[in-house]
């Protein structure tokens, strides 16, 4: 005999409560998937080399007498002041390593979702578009902050430990803010930059190449144009130069290019706004039939 069914009966009795951090599962998955790539683990470990070198430099600077024989007059480089921190944050190798880490860990953040049609699954759950994007951005926040703010603050703490007093901190009380401010700038910029490129293709390799190519090509373009025009404003064409310019400004150091730092901030903000606009258009839950 067929089951007699009460059609009006509603089984589900859960509560419609909003999750506090709905973006967290996306961030968690993004970080876990990045570490699942074998090559990435090596790249990630290698990206701490500048931090280790600067930490060693900091240690040596406090023991100059012990290392005098090795330094051979280059001890002037080990003058620990805000410029030392600026050098760590804006040196070519750190910026390139950040791009390298993001090329491996973040290029597929949206591209993979587009490839696998995963957006339908995300958006059929209690998740808004802004939560989705925040979740993806937080993956980039994690990787960039771990290479910038964390080593920067560790260097500062070790400086205080090696000196054994708070004098350095009292001399430069704004330095922690510079470290955090510039780290935040790098984080936000790279988050928009990489996610924008990741939303342009379903192919992660293609996105990885784009992340590198645009970063490097913008610098090459700067080199070519400044060679032709001998004009420092050409630095504005380079992502790296703009980041270095902004870094020098935030650490209160001499600007590397004779262009107002505000222009670099404007260029970086413009890239972020453009990326946000593209992301807003590109992130739809379903494929659009044309």
């Amino acid at each position: 005999m067929a089951t007699i069914r009460e059609k009006g009966y509603s089984h589900w009795d859960g509560k419609l409560t909003e999750r506090r951090f709905p973006w967290w599962p996306i961030t968690r998955t993004g970080i876990l998937l990045a570490f699942r790539k074998k090559r990435f683990k090596f790249v990630f470990a290698g990206s701490f080399v500048p931090a280790v070198v600067f930490l060693v430099g900091l240690y040596i600077s406090e023991r100059l007498e012990d290392f005098k024989a090795f330094l051979q007059g280059s001890d002037r480089l080990l003058n620990i002041d805000p410029n030392y921190f600026k050098t760590y944050f804006t040196n070519d190798s750190l910026l390139f390593l950040i791009v390298l880490v993001l090329g491996f860990a973040a290029a597929g953040l949206i591209a993979d979702d587009l490839k696998h049609n995963s957006l339908q699954l995300y958006f059929s759950r209690p998740l808004r578009k802004k939560d989705y994007l925040l979740g993806k951005m937080s993956v980039i926040f994690f990787f960039v902050l771990i290479l910038t703010a964390v080593p920067g603050l560790v260097l500062l703490i070790f400086k205080l430990i090696f000196v054994g007093s708070f004098k350095f901190f009292l001399d430069y009380p704004w330095l922690p803010l510079s470290i955090l401010g510039y780290s935040a700038l790098l984080t936000v910029f790279f988050a928009f930059y990489v996610l924008f490129l990741s939303s342009l293709s379903k192919n992660t390799r293609y996105v990885t190449i784009l992340v590198f190519m645009i970063y490097i090509f913008s610098d090459i373009l700067f080199g070519i144009l400044s060679g032709i025009f001998h004009e420092p404003a050409m630095a504005l064409f380079s992502i790296k130069a703009n980041l270095q310019q902004a870094g020098a400004f935030l650490f209160g150091q001499k600007l590397p290019f004779a262009v107002p730092a505000g222009w670099s901030f404007l260029i970086l903000a413009g890239i972020c706004v453009l990326s946000a606009a593209v992301l807003n258009r590109k992130i739809r839950s379903v494929e659009v039939i044309k």
Partner: protein
């Protein structure tokens, strides 16, 4: 009875392509089959219900609440998309638990729910394998598992049976019917008629973005007044039987099937015909072996409706 899902004058288009055109529909608890050829608008309708797209015109409500931009509603909806939606490098377990995290369950609750869902779809022993190594049927089942893991009231299944072997189909059909028996609302789409027929008699026929008809199959068949009902009567003496109906004005057409034993009648008044057939059998002593309605199935109904 209050509709669980209600669409009012719903339209959605993609550029110049019309996905859905002025659809007004109410879906109640139980299984409702959404039937139509590829490109008919079934998936568009499902994506509008699951809040993945904003309708250009009209509204969709679930239990009286608007769907668009109201993600909390989806705590009570499970969606199983048509196409594969996997990161291939995760295991079935990671896939289901990862998606359960969006509902804010505790760690132990997530494990318990994932284990239960994977057990229901019989993937417990394969849960730690990478999805990359799953067969088509296993992929379909793990997709189904993520749709039911959070114990939703409404389950939306887009072509859930495609790619499954007959045994897999039978198991999934049984499972879907079990959800119906628990009082849940299940919306299933398919372009394969027997699949829908196996699941439910309550169907919605969709074609070119419009709803052609809705109701149970005999009801929809009644709607098609332009087409007479076809009735086959296998008998020991079909010609004698035909002779009794020649003068009947309600009969549109009579013919004999190639087997020579079956009389095929087309009439607008099916019930009248059955009454007279009973009389003919009793009075004429004609033995009837089988009576069937070849066009009283979904295939015929659908072909009539789309004008094929």
């Amino acid at each position: 009875m209050t509709a669980v899902i209600a669409a009012t004058h719903l339209s959605k288009w993609y550029g110049n392509v019309l996905g859905l055109n002025d659809v007004t529909l109410e879906i109640e608890a139980g299984i409702t089959g959404l039937l139509g050829p590829n490109g008919a608008g079934k998936s568009t309708f499902m994506k509008l219900i699951t809040g993945q797209m904003k309708p250009n015109i009209g509204t969709v409500t679930v239990r009286g609440r608007k769907v668009w931009n109201n993600p909390m509603i989806f705590a009570g909806i499970g969606f199983c998309p048509e196409h594969d939606v996997f990161y291939e490098d995760v295991t079935g377990w990671e896939f289901v638990t990862g998606l359960l995290r969006f509902y804010g369950y505790s760690g132990s609750d997530i494990k318990e729910r994932a284990a239960r869902a994977l057990d229901i779809v019989e993937l417990t022993k394969d849960k730690d394998r990478l999805i990359r190594g799953y067969s088509r049927g296993m992929r379909q089942r793990v997709k189904f598992a993520q749709a039911i893991a959070h114990d939703p009231e409404i389950i939306v299944l887009d072509e859930p049976l495609s790619g499954l072997d007959p045994l897999g189909k039978r198991k999934l059909i049984k499972l879907i019917k079990a959800f119906r028996d628990e009082g849940r609302t299940v919306l299933v789409s398919s372009h394969v008629l027997p699949e829908i027929e196996a699941l439910t008699s309550r169907i919605v026929l969709v074609h070119q973005g419009k709803i052609l008809a809705q109701g149970d199959i005999p009801y929809i068949r009644e709607l098609i007044e332009a087409h007479p009902h076809m009735i086959s009567v296998r008998s020991s003496d079909p010609r004698a039987l035909a002779a009794r109906f020649v003068g009947d004005r309600s009969i549109q057409k009579m013919s004999f099937a190639p087997d020579g034993r079956t009389l095929v009648v087309e009439t607008h008044k099916r019930d009248d015909f059955f009454g007279r057939l009973t009389g003919a059998v009793l009075e004429g002593g004609i033995e009837v072996e089988e009576i069937s309605s070849p066009d009283d199935n979904l295939q015929a109904v659908f072909e009539y409706l789309v004008g094929k």
